[in-house]
């Protein structure tokens, strides 16, 4: 599943939510506490499959399988921080996760 349930925030939608942000940013939306709670209720193992469709290369990287008893409230958001990082490394330089400090500053 894509935890935010919606594509990257960009373009007009980015400008509406973060008017001061550079217009070329692409923001992976924050995972909501409700989604985190639901995932924990489901009692499932988690596997992060991060993908980047960069300007030069497409990559997919798998994380380790995390059993349900090791899943915390931060597990999914940590995965999304890593997702943004992988995409940046792969040439998608304007990708951020919505809870990164830079984006939180635009929201302030």
């Amino acid at each position: 599943m894509a935890p935010s349930g919606a594509p990257d925030l960009k373009g007009d939608n980015l400008a509406k939510k973060y008017p001061d942000a550079p217009p070329d940013l692409k923001i992976i939306r924050a995972v909501s506490p409700g989604t985190t709670k639901l995932i924990r209720q489901m009692g499932v193992s988690l596997l992060h499959a991060s993908a980047s469709f960069g300007p030069n290369e497409t990559v997919m990287k798998l994380g380790k399988i995390i059993p349900p008893n090791e899943v915390t409230d931060d597990t999914v958001r940590d995965m999304l921080f890593k997702e943004a990082e992988l995409r940046r490394i792969n040439g998608e330089t304007t990708v951020r996760y919505e809870e990164e400090d830079e984006i939180l500053a635009y929201a302030a």
Binding site: M1, A2, P3, S4, G5, A6, P7, D8, N13, K16, K26, I28, S32, G34, T35, L38, I39, Q41, M42, G43, V44, S45, L46, L47, H48, A49, S50, A51, F53, T58, V59, M60, K61, L62, I65, P67, P68, V76, M79, L80, E83, R87
Partner: protein, 236 residues
Amino acid sequence: MPEALQVPQLAPDDIAGNHNILTDEFTSRYIKRAHISLLAKAQRYDPDNPFCGYDQTFWPAMPNEHSELAAKVILGGFFRMLPKKMDRLFYQPFAERVDEIADSLHENPLLVVTGHSPDLVAAIPVHGISKAVAKNQPGDYLQNLYDIIKESHAVGTRGFVPLRFRLPPPIKPENKFLVRAAQLVFGVHFTFPRAETMRESGISLEFIDEYNARARADCLTAVQQPSRHPDGLKQV
């Protein structure tokens, strides 16, 4: 009042109207953008079509010998990749770790966390894991694939209300529908996404919220059911 809420909304009990906003504003555009017009069409509201009903949030998957081809065509077309490259990028990583994945599936259901850019990213691991697990098991590959699909996949309505996948013409009428599928992936929390475009479409937000709540409850129930897989593998 936020700007998006100024758009007049349909009544939540106007099932046909809300359904047709989904098909006309979202599904049809999605099909076009995903380059799958030859394979899929959006189903406008038809009270006699059980897939237009909203009492259920998903139906059992019905895999057949065309399922893998359909997935390849859809994903390959969407990501503009040849099968060999797709296998290298999207199947091989799962095949390399299939023993670990299968061991994990004996213990617990597995939720694969992905991004959402572009669309259909979440379909890649569902496809890759199903194929890797089926190939790794003894016996007939197709039967193994059916078994893991039946255990793991469901046909959800999501924002993409009944898509019907079909082979490109020419084809015999009796073979027309390949998969009575809506989507390859089902968003657990926000089955109907609450994106800006959705809020601005005039669809009833109450309709969306009620449906999402039901889908969440159904997912929780489904994931906690005992496995029906012959080898006891749990859901992906």
